[in-house]
């Protein structure tokens, strides 16, 4: 059996099948997340752990927890996302799949966006499912938990997209966990301010449409600009392997 290559040489115009490549990247990320459950569970446990520190550390009175609850959950979610970001590209960089992925004939920024959204679905949505539970733990009234979950729903993709820029830049750095947090946390401040701002405004009976509009604007900006920076960062990290 002459080991002839299975497929003839064909000079292709350029990579077609953007949808197929996107679906493949999305499905692959979910498959890996499902197979490596630990990488999804750890941030969740960390999230609950951080939230339960505040009543212990400060005070368990209902009155304090009701005021500070939204902020506590937001900061804990932010830190949990930062934790899971560190592993975002690391395994693929180590085993060499990252350079194959960068070399695939598809627009890298688009693929990066698909990949980050897959990670959002795989590891951040479970986080959001925990928010109502933690809200009750912190004696938050039901509607306020609803608003809190809504702001996190809009804010967490922004946190993930911006954090992925840092992950792409530091993927070739050895123990880059702390470095990633140092680089990206200043960029999280606006999202944190308007996320918690919406909940406090709702608590005082004020309308929150303004806050949600700004969160939406940040989300749109992140979706458009962040993938470009992520792609540039990945090309840089993969350069000399």
């Amino acid at each position: 059996m002459q080991p002839e290559s299975r497929t003839p040489v064909t000079l292709r115009e350029s990579g077609d099948g953007l949808i197929r490549a996107g679906v493949t990247t999305f499905r692959r990320e979910l498959l890996i997340a499902f197979r490596e459950k630990q990488d999804v569970i750890n941030p969740l446990v960390f999230f609950v752990l951080i939230v339960s520190l505040f009543p212990l550390g400060i005070s368990p009175e209902t009155e304090f927890l009701r005021d500070a609850g939204a902020g506590i959950i937001w900061v804990a979610a932010l830190l949990a996302i930062l934790l899971s970001l560190n592993m975002l590209f690391r395994n693929d960089y180590a085993d060499g799949y990252l350079e194959q992925w960068v070399l695939s004939p598809q627009p890298l920024a688009m693929m990066a966006l698909v990949r980050v959204s897959a990670v959002w679905v795989a590891s951040v949505v479970p986080l959001l499912l925990l928010v109502p539970l933690l809200g009750l733990m912190l004696h938050l009234p039901a509607e306020r938990i609803g608003v809190l979950t809504l702001t996190l729903l809009m804010g967490s993709p922004v946190l993930l997209l911006i954090g992925a820029i840092g992950a792409a830049l530091t993927v070739s750095v050895r123990n880059s966990g702390m470095l990633l947090a140092l680089l990206m946390t200043p960029f999280y401040v606006p999202v944190l301010i308007f996320g918690t701002g919406a909940v406090t405004a709702f608590g005082q009976g004020a309308s929150i449409t303004g806050h949600l509009a700004i969160l939406g604007a940040m989300l749109a900006l992140a979706i458009v600009l962040a993938p470009l920076a992520i792609a540039a960062g990945l090309r840089m990290s993969v350069a000399n392997g």
């Binding site: 040489v9 692959r28 194959q100 000399n240 392997g241």
Partner: protein
């Protein structure tokens, strides 16, 4: 003369204070096999990564099919397969899934082709166990299975023959020559003594690097 697929003009590259190569010209046409030879650390890997468009810190011109490469990145990457030091196999996925993810990013494929490619590299029965349980040599074979599936005319193989046993060496050599025979072009670096007669050698390190 065969159509030139990949061409490098006056390549210059330095890394941590050493000039790896300067003034390097290389023209690879269809049907060519070029072996990059030179001692370790002479810049073989760097040159291959420059040709693959991964490494951007070099000076000089690179063109694909006559067009400047940095303007034709997608078109070039659709017609080029790069195999680096690391196999690029994800441990938590099975060989089948690894191959499927790789091919799906490039073109539609028929499922049985994957099974046949894995059979060709001698991995029958291992298709659907997680790659983590495979040995390094077997993982390398999964990467070689891509060559069976590859319709890309240009192959860039870095240390192609490392960590594979004698049987696989024969297979790889015939694959390379058949790719060149079909009008493709292969640029590879290896320490293994290659039995391919019609292959040009590009010497790196020491003398001025140009295609002998």
């Amino acid at each position: 003369m065969s159509t030139t697929l990949l061409e490098a003009r006056q390549l210059y590259c330095e890394r941590d204070d050493r000039v790896l190569f300067s003034g390097l010209d290389l023209s690879v046409g269809s049907g060519d096999i070029v072996r990059i030879a030179g001692p370790n650390g002479a810049g073989k890997t760097t040159l291959l990564r420059v040709l693959a468009g991964l490494n951007l810190s070099f000076e000089g011109g690179l063109s694909w099919y006559g067009y400047p490469l940095h303007q034709q990145r997608d078109w070039y990457q659709a017609n080029m397969l790069f195999l680096g030091h690391r196999a690029g196999i994800t441990a938590s996925l099975t060989p089948l899934e690894n191959l499927r993810c790789w091919v799906d990013m490039r073109r539609p494929h028929r499922e049985e082709l994957l099974w046949e490619a894995l059979a060709d590299v001698g991995l029958e029965g291992y298709e659907d166990i997680p790659s983590a349980h495979l040995s390094a040599g077997q993982q390398r074979r999964v990467a070689l299975a891509r060559l069976y599936l590859s319709t890309e005319p240009v192959w860039l193989l870095d240390e192609a023959f490392t960590a594979i046993d004698q049987g696989a060496v024969k297979v790889l050599e015939s694959l390379i020559s058949s790719r060149a025979a079909q009008g493709g072009a292969v640029v590879l670096s290896t320490h293994h003594r290659l039995q391919l007669d019609e292959c040009r050698v590009l010497e790196l390190g020491g003398s001025l690097g140009f295609a002998t």
